[in-house]
Symmetry: C2
Amino acid sequence: AVTLCAAGAVGFVAVVFVLRWVLHFKEGLGWDGGLAEFNWHPVLVVSGFIFLQGIAIIVYRLPWTWKCSKLLMKFIHAGLHLAAFICAVVAMVAVFDFHNAAQIPNMYSLHSWLGLIAVILYSLQIVLGVGMYLIPATPVSWRAAFMPIHVYSGLLLFASVIGVALMGITEKLIFGLSNPKYKDSPPEAVFVNVLGVLLVVFGALILWIATR
Amino acid sequence: AVTLCAAGAVGFVAVVFVLRWVLHFKEGLGWDGGLAEFNWHPVLVVSGFIFLQGIAIIVYRLPWTWKCSKLLMKFIHAGLHLAAFICAVVAMVAVFDFHNAAQIPNMYSLHSWLGLIAVILYSLQIVLGVGMYLIPATPVSWRAAFMPIHVYSGLLLFASVIGVALMGITEKLIFGLSNPKYKDSPPEAVFVNVLGVLLVVFGALILWIATR
Ligand code: HEM
Ligand code: HEM
Ligand code: HEM
Ligand code: HEM
Ligand SMILES: O=C1O[C@H]([C@@H](O)CO)C(O)=C1O
């Protein structure tokens, strides 16, 4: 219960940090083809793709869900993953739109390659999850045989998404800071580095809970 | 056995890629306070801290070690981790030395924060591993109780180190490429992005083997 609360708290603080980053240090939020539109990218990724996905993974471990039926718990798990996926897709639309408006090339970085691969595999994980565990026709023997793969690929995707976010943070701090630069450790740089550390701690707590 | 061979092959190709990166695209290797000294940083990290650590983690799963005594296997596991740690320390000396010679600030980036934390926790993992599993005095009940923590923190550190390397690759491609820049996808950018993908595949294979 202590780790559950700690994970929730650290994740919540990370969401507050990303909002403070874009609202206080950066251009705020908007949908105008400019930097305010780009800012939806980190906000939706951290609050949706990372925070919601993390909660979805540990939902079967939350004491209050134990009074729900197994079917309801599956709906909560699948629904949260679907919400996380939608956030990831909108986050990518925001950055593609911003790149196209600013004539910046698409898909050149390792961050963008691994990010797009992660989102595509995540959608596959949802489709296979629904097919295996929500459609009544699937035989119980298939469900059991597939479970180790579902858990392994789910945890691997979760960890990869956090790794992709750390690369994105690094890029944005290098591109976004000049005079003083990232190297000169202005307050924004230190603040966003702390956000990166929070994401790693959140990931470590979720992985601990899910592997007990 | 197929996954074992695949992990070895992908890890080996990653080491070849990092060598080709610094020898063909970059300034080569040297210990002169300049960029050739910096280049030891990615080379030692990929070949030592990532590749050797990965092999150390799966060493108990290699069929040829099954004829060895348990004590010998522990020495191989611990020895490979120690070698990986030494590579990580020399890799960090190289970049600190380069930064000091070039008057670049130290420890400003999220990459450097998470990298240093990972190396420190890795040294702790080695000390606790030796204390728990090599010193004969430690009671078997302690050994058994600590094993889930040893495995969790070992796998978490391994995954984190790969995440840190992906951030480092991103930084180096942004800093090191100009005219054409990273955005313009010169051959070096595509080549090193592929190295990043290889590191993720290597990590995924090791984690799969270690959790079967
Ligand atoms: C973990 C989830 C994330 C995913 C799946 C993801 C995905 C992507 C993709 C696919 C692109 C390419 C867009 C294009 O080429 O037009 C991109 C670009 C970018 N992202 Fe992310 N991103 C994630 C997290 C983040 C975070 C947290 C940041 C922090 C600000 C960030 C910063 C950037 C930046 C600066 C770019 C433009 C440079 C580039 O293309 O690499 N990303 N992202
Ligand atoms: C990308 C989306 C998904 C990810 C990342 C994911 C990840 C995970 C993880 C990590 C676990 C292990 C949790 C634990 O041990 O506490 C799990 C369990 C499970 N998931 Fe998913 N999942 C996804 C989508 C789905 C969907 C759409 C379904 C359909 C209902 C589903 C059904 C299940 C079931 C039945 C379990 C086993 C719960 C139990 O009895 O312990 N998953 N999932
Ligand atoms: C995963 C293992 C790695 C660890 C533990 C690590 C650790 C570190 C540390 C502690 C620093 C700070 C040095 C200083 O402040 O003087 C640093 C800097 C740097 N590293 Fe790494 N590194 C790793 C992998 C890589 C890789 C694979 C690259 C790819 C080239 C890389 C590129 C860089 C760059 C460009 C810097 C200088 C900029 C900065 O301080 O962030 N690193 N690294
Ligand atoms: C940073 C260094 C280390 C890391 C990252 C690490 C990681 C791991 C991992 C991931 C496993 C699980 C492997 C598997 O299930 O196949 C493991 C097992 C083990 N490690 Fe370590 N380890 C480290 C250092 C040590 C040291 C110094 C010792 C001392 C001998 C040690 C002793 C053991 C033992 C006895 C096992 C259990 C093997 C078995 O019976 O399955 N480890 N280690
Ligand atoms: O020393 C050892 O400790 C573990 C085990 O006893 C605790 O789980 C193991 O496999 C050893 O060889």
